[in-house]
């Protein structure tokens, strides 16, 4: 492969962020995400951006939110323990509609757990870690190249929908180095801006797509930012109508455009009798398992969501309708398997291969977990 370089997953994240226009990073280094901060501190100042090492993860995301309100494209990166501390501000960024990117490189938990081992234990935390009814956009790459692509996508979706976007991958994806060719240029989306008179600007009045145009502090527009429930003027309210309008709108702006957000890989499903549902590093194992199972004459396919949230219920239901068994493999004790069961609604058998011991799920593990009615496995 000409021009290929050995690139680490965490480095690809930095390169994707810079390609997407990231110009602000605030964070507190933590294994296995630390390389993102280490590489960012070397490269971001040269790219005209600002890097601040914060005292903790609470302050990290607060600072990212402030930088974004001032017009920056801002991100932070962490792992489970720091991700826990960020939950409050993820809710604030969702409510105040502040674009930002949060990277969670998953390690074994709970608590400090297994700092240097892989896990997929934060999937539900990424969805429901912050309180209240809220949408979540969560992207899950399964290779170094995809880390780059989905980091770019995370920034673009954050800008497009004025909402925090979470990029989530495990320690193996973060630390593994692969030979890849990364693009020099990518498509970039910028937040929409108001074109009306500053004196009549309503900071939370949505455009037709449900997303309010956004100004930066210092642009000459006056606006108020709050985590309290607020009206279109941006000021707090307890009015039930205003409350319902806001909560509904922050959901609808995401769920009405799920086709722009969702990405699902389907592999060898056409004649499949069994499908493996897997994401992140397990998606790589599953793809290899499918190829080996096919060589053994087993009709197995793969469904791999690159967007975990919003969950692709419809695509999973479609796949399930054509097969006998869905094998859900994840490096936790059962998180997305519940959503798969919701999607399938009892029409297809769902079985789990779940592992939370700090070791990856291998292709051999998955082959052994496949149902084998015909005795095709040897």
């Amino acid at each position: 492969m000409s021009g290929a370089k050995l690139v680490q997953g965490n480095e690809a994240c930095v390169r994707g962020a810079l390609a997407a226009g990231c110009n602000f990073y605030a964070g507190y280094p933590i294994t296995p995400s630390s390389e993102i901060a280490e590489i960012m501190v070397r490269r971001l100042p040269d790219a005209g951006g600002v890097f601040i090492q914060m005292e903790d993860e609470i302050a990290s995301l607060a600072t990212v939110i402030g930088a974004s309100l001032a017009g920056s494209k801002a991100m932070t990166a962490t792992s489970g323990p720091g991700f826990s501390l960020m939950q409050e501000h993820i809710g604030f960024a969702t409510m105040a509609e502040v674009p930002c990117v949060i990277v969670d490189v998953m390690r074994g938990g709970p608590s400090t757990g297994l700092p240097t081992s892989p896990s997929q234990g934060d999937i539900m935390q990424a969805r429901w870690g912050t309180h209240g009814d809220h949408p979540a956009i969560v992207l899950a790459p399964s290779s170094v190249g995809e880390v780059f692509d989905l980091t770019v996508k995370a920034f673009n979706l954050a800008e497009r929908f004025r909402t925090p976007v979470i990029l989530i991958y495990d320690e193996i994806i973060g630390h593994t180095r692969e030979s890849v060719v990364l693009p020099d240029r990518v498509d970039i989306v910028d937040r929409s801006r108001p074109n009306g008179n500053p004196s009549t600007y309503q900071p939370k009045a949505p455009a037709a797509n449900g997303v309010p145009p956004m100004v930066a502090f210092g642009d000459g527009y006056r606006f108020h930012v709050t985590g309290l429930t607020h009206n279109e003027h941006g000021f707090p309210t307890t009015d039930p109508g205003d409350t319902e309008a806001l909560i509904t709108r922050i959901h609808d702006k995401v769920y009405d455009h799920q086709d722009e957000i969702s990405a699902v890989e389907e592999f060898m499903l056409d004649d499949a009798e069994v499908a493996i549902f897997a994401y992140g590093i397990v998606g790589r194992s599953a793809r290899e398992a499918v190829l080996r199972a096919r060589r053994a004459g087993m009709k197995v396919g793969l469904i791999r969501p690159l967007t975990l949230w919003p969950f692709p219920y419809a695509q999973v239901a479609d796949v399930a309708a054509g097969i006998d068994t869905l094998l859900v493999a994840e490096m936790n004790l059962g998180q997305l398997i519940g959503e798969v069961e919701r999607a399938v609604a009892g029409t297809t058998e769902v079985i789990g291969h779940l592992r939370a011991d700090g070791e990856p799920i291998t292709p051999a593990d998955l082959i052994a977990a496949l149902p084998d009615p015909a005795g095709a496995r040897t």
Partner: protein, 178 residues
């Protein structure tokens, strides 16, 4: 060569992660595909550490090692932990201080860590000595690509020392005069 898997395992501080990275970069410089993965403990010094490198002529699907072709064990712990996992075709290169339970006809023991100490005064270049051994035994990558990968990866003030370590590793295999 379809797919080859190499594991360099030892203790934190022996340079095994750097060595794996150099091997993968040398493979890419040689025109192959390569993936490097690492496993280490939460300690900043000491503890077990390992590098796995998958080298293939075609794009690599599953990135992690499953059937190691060559294991280089630089510590007793690495040897006792990973030697039993080797499949029938896998070869062991153990440091002389290790005490493997068995040594097959294709396995070897070399004073890798002692060679590193004689060159650098410490064990830091053990991983690079191991690369010299690995290259001489397998020819997994092109020799000049390995030199270039070392030069790309190590600080220039330490380049001579690392190239010396690489050559010394190769001589452990070929038996040339030190």
């Amino acid at each position: 060569m379809g797919r080859s898997e190499f594991r360099i395992a030892g203790a934190g501080g022996q340079g095994v992660v750097t060595a794996g990275r150099i091997l993968a970069e040398a493979a890419i410089l040689s025109g192959s595909e390569a993936i490097h993965s690492q496993v280490y403990g939460p300690q900043s010094r000491g503890g077990a550490s390992r590098s796995d490198v998958v080298i293939a002529t075609e794009q690599i699907g599953y990135p992690l090692a499953e059937q190691i072709d060559l294991l280089v064990a630089l510590s007793g712990e690495a040897c006792s932990r990973y030697h039993p996992e080797l499949m029938e075709h896998g070869r062991l290169v153990a440091d002389s201080r290790c005490a493997p339970t068995s040594l097959g006809v294709r396995d070897h023991q070399f004073p890798i860590v002692d060679t590193a100490r004689s060159i650098s005064g410490g064990h830091l270049v053990s991983g690079v000595v191991a690369l010299g051994v690995l290259q001489a035994l397998t020819g997994a990558v092109e020799a000049d690509a390995l030199d270039r990968a070392v030069a790309d990866r190590v600080p220039s003030r330490h380049l001579d020392m690392n190239l010396k370590a690489l050559r010394a590793g190769a001589r452990l295999v070929t038996g040339g005069v030190g």
